[in-house]
């Protein structure tokens, strides 16, 4: 049986040593090389053509994300498992965008790294379990907010209310709107409350989203 050939990229010697030791216990794996930063990781990968690269995200010089992108682009057969301390879906998103197939947290390295390596080597994706829920949540949320059936009360608005709507959506303060429209701040507040009621908007966030959909902002003129 062919053993899985691994390249370990991490700028901390203790982590590299630990990984070597940990992976040495796995009879189906073999660490063929190490790299201390992103640049070296790319060079070593091109040279050794490993099956899987275990990649730290934050390293000196070219960081793990850039190195991942480079390796995935140039070695289609090589998979990358990100091994990081960042329990943060922002990094996860970036890593996946860069082309990583696995994402393992260092706190779970002992139990998950070997599994992850085997999974990605088969061409599948391995994520730290708590992230799966995050991604699922995002998926559901995107489905949820895409609500185009909302009834539109735009025609119910007076000219003044439309103007106030547009300026609020642009991020003007009530005072600025009042000055621009020659109204009192109080009146602007009233207009805003009334138009939000008419359009059934609960917050500024919804108001801005509504204005974007309606193309009420100048920079979104050619937009949705």
């Amino acid at each position: 049986m062919n053993r899985i050939r691994l390249l370990v990229a991490d700028d901390h010697p203790v982590v590299r040593a630990g990984l070597r030791m940990l992976l040495a216990t796995q009879s189906d794996m073999e660490v063929v090389g190490e790299a201390v930063d992103g640049q070296t990781a790319v060079e070593r990968a091109l040279e050794l053509k490993p099956d899987v690269v275990v990649m730290d995200l934050t390293m000196e010089g070219m960081d793990g994300l850039a190195a991942t992108r480079e390796i995935v682009n140039r070695l289609p057969q090589t998979r990358v498992v990100v091994l990081t301390m960042h329990d943060n879906e922002e990094y996860l998103r970036q890593a996946l965008e860069a082309g990583a197939s696995g994402y393992v947290l260092k706190e779970a390295v002992d139990t998950e790294i070997a599994v992850a390596i085997r999974v990605v080597q088969r061409g599948e994706v391995f994520l730290y379990p708590s992230f799966t829920r995050v991604l699922l949540g995002d998926l559901l949320q995107t489905g949820g907010t895409d609500d185009s059936s909302e009834q539109d009360g735009y025609e119910l608005l007076s000219e003044r209310e439309k103007e106030v709507l547009r300026l609020v959506a642009l991020g003007d303060t009530n005072r600025e709107i009042a000055q621009r429209l020659f109204l009192s701040v109080r009146t602007v507040e009233t207009y805003r409350a009334r138009l939000m009621e008419k359009l059934n908007l609960k917050s500024r966030g919804e108001l801005v989203r509504y204005a974007l959909r309606k193309g009420l902002r100048p920079d979104e003129a050619g937009g949705p």
Binding site: D10, H12, V14, V15, A17, G18, L19, M21, L22, A24, T25, L57, T58, D63, M85, H86, D87, N88, E89, E90, Y91, R93, Q94, K106, E107, A108, V109, D110, T111, G171, T173, N174, R175, E189, A193, K202, S203, R204, G205, E206, V208, R209, L212, R213, R217, D219, E220, G223, P224
Partner: protein, 578 residues
């Protein structure tokens, strides 16, 4: 003063004289009338000789009484007419003219003067009145001089500008040729000309070497009293020679005082004392008042300069403080992350290997391992049988390793949270958008609030790092305030990059507060956070506005200009997001 000539011109003399004249006239007229009636009587008596003596006497009596009556009436009429004429000529018409002048003066036309005719009491009154008006006019001029000067020196807080405009103003008012203002330069103890007008070049140069130990300026400076030199009177001043050459023989030195402290000296020079601006005690008083005003202006300008210097310093210190704090937090966060985090990772991995080992090693056969030896007591080792019974069997050892491993993983998590709290690495690595998104996820759970986050015009772009840090910290502070005070159900966070500015809006639907009362009050524990946010925005040339209506929530608007900053925000300006 009351000479005979004066008496002849007085009104009383004139009236007496005119009365006397009228009496003479009346007497003349009366005598003529009496003479005429007698003649008539005699003519009649001669024409009618038949008349008896009684008849003649009676006729005479009648004629006499009639003439007397006519005489009295005509006398009275004449007296009335004459005195009316005289009164109107001498008094009434002149009083009327007087009145018209008074009427012109009262609204402020101090140029009006009463015409002085003759030398009587009314003329005297007119002269006194004119003198009073002149005095009034002078006082008025003095006040308006001071007023103009106050307005001039109050227009600017720049010391040089203030002194130059003050000097211009004073020269115009005094109609003197040249002037200069010297201030004491504390480090060199020399007098320093800070403003001069119309001064010969040699004089300026000569003055530059004035040691301010002796000389007229030093005297005025020490005494705080003005000095005036007429007609080339000798005085100690390095510039005197050059002034003489130019024919500038008049000189006045005025101390510039503020709160009884002499700050400098203003010197004014002119051609000759005869032709200069009314140089009396009074004008010296005016000059002293001018000196005080310029002194106050100098003091103000200096205080303002000091204030500005301190404000700049404060800004720099604040900026440095914030930068240092961020750097230090970042450094500690990285240290935690890199040093401690990686070592803990390595421990976890080692424990993983150990765990593996305990499950695969045949303990019974291989006997004790190093690890087991360390974990057992000497007594237990002495009795292998007991050791095996009471000591750790493989599953037990595995359980312990598992415990240590879990604890280590927990410590790693805590270290990571500490690092995140100090300064999220995501802010540096992935930018504000990712950092805010991540922060808001945690915030939503902690604060139990509905968070709506939108970012517009920012996709994939990074703002300049200092702007990202500032906006992140401001958002953190604003959101902490919402969680702590607002009792809100939901909060909207908008991040937008439009044109060349970055905007952040944090709006909650909580109970709101009286912004003016909290924000405009002196900084204290209660509103320090708000002032901190504002300072942070101001350091980057931005603004922070808070709008709130009690019962209707609070909105924090932050705008930071991006012109002239490094970042990739300039690219792809048309990008919008939905």
């Amino acid at each position: 003063m009351r000479t005979r000539a004066y008496y002849y011109h007085s009104l009383r003399f004139k009236i007496t004289l005119s009365l006397l004249l009228s009496v003479i006239v009346i007497l003349t007229v009366t005598s003529y009338l009496r003479y005429a009636s007698f003649r008539q009587l005699l003519t009649e008596s001669l024409t009618f000789p038949a008349a008896s003596a009684e008849e003649i006497i009676e006729a005479q009596m009648v004629a006499y009484v009639r003439s007397r009556f006519i005489l009295s009436v005509s006398t009275i009429v004449v007296i009335v007419l004459i005195s009316d004429l005289m009164m109107s000529r001498m008094v009434v018409s002149r009083l009327k003219q007087f009145l018209s002048v008074v009427k012109r003066i009262s609204p402020g036309n101090l140029d009006a003067r009463v015409r002085v005719e003759g030398h009587d009491e009314i003329a005297e009154l007119a002269q006194a009145f004119n003198r009073m008006t002149e005095e009034l006019q002078r006082q008025n001029e003095r006040l308006s001089t001071l007023n103009t000067l106050a307005a001039t020196v109050g227009q600017s807080l720049n010391l040089k500008e203030v002194l130059h405009s003050a000097l211009d103003e004073v020269l115009e008012l005094t109609r003197l040729r040249a002037g200069w203002i010297t201030l004491r330069d504390e480090p060199t103890e020399k007098s320093l000309i800070v403003a001069s007008r119309g001064l010969p070049e040699g004089a300026v140069l000569a003055h530059a070497h004035c040691a301010w130990i002796q000389g007229v300026c030093a005297e005025v400076f020490q005494s705080g009293r003005p000095q005036v030199f007429h007609d080339g009177q000798r005085h100690a001043c390095p510039a005197a020679e050059y002034l003489q050459k130019e024919g500038l023989v008049f000189r006045a030195c005025v101390p510039l005082k503020s709160k009884d402290l002499v700050l400098g000296v203003m010197s004014l020079v002119g051609v000759a004392s005869g032709s200069v601006w009314m140089f009396t005690e009074d004008s010296l008083d005016t000059l002293m008042a001018i000196g005080r005003q310029i002194g106050v202006a100098i003091e103000n300008a200096r205080l303002y300069e000091e204030l500005q210097r301190k404000e700049t310093l404060r800004r720099q210190l604040l900026e440095r403080g914030i930068t240092l704090q961020e750097e230090e937090r970042g450094r500690i966060a990285r240290e935690l992350h890199d040093q401690i985090g990686q070592r803990l990772t390595s421990i976890i991995m080692t424990l993983g290997v150990l765990e593996e080992a305990t499950s695969t090693t045949d303990w019974e056969r291989n006997g004790t391992t190093d690890w087991e030896r360390n974990g057992t007591t000497d007594g237990e080792r002495a009795c292998p049988e007991r050791s095996r019974k009471n000591g750790w069997a493989a599953p037990e050892a595995q359980a312990h390793i598992q415990d240590v491993r879990d604890t280590t993983a927990q410590i790693l998590k805590e270290v990571r949270d500490m690092a995140l709290h100090l300064r999220p690495s995501v802010l540096d690595d992935l930018g504000l958008l990712a950092a805010l998104r991540h922060y808001l996820k945690g915030y939503q759970n902690r604060a139990r609030l509905l968070v709506d986050f939108q970012a517009l015009g920012l996709d994939g772009k990074r703002l300049p790092p200092e702007v990202e840090t500032a906006l992140f910290r401001i958002a953190q502070e604003a959101l902490t305030n919402v969680a702590r005070h607002a009792q809100a159900r939901s909060v909207t966070v908008l991040l937008e990059q439009r044109e060349a500015s970055a905007m952040l809006i944090v709006e909650d639907d909580g109970k709101g507060f009286d912004v003016a009362r909290v924000v405009d009050s002196r900084p204290d524990e209660g509103n320090l956070g708000i002032h901190g946010m504002r300072e942070r925005a101001a350091l980057l040339g931005g603004t922070l506005t808070i709008e709130s209506t009690p019962g209707r929530g609070t909105t924090v608007f932050v705008r930071i200009p991006l012109e002239g900053r490094k970042g990739d925000y300039e690219q792809n300006p048309a990008a919008g997001g939905g």
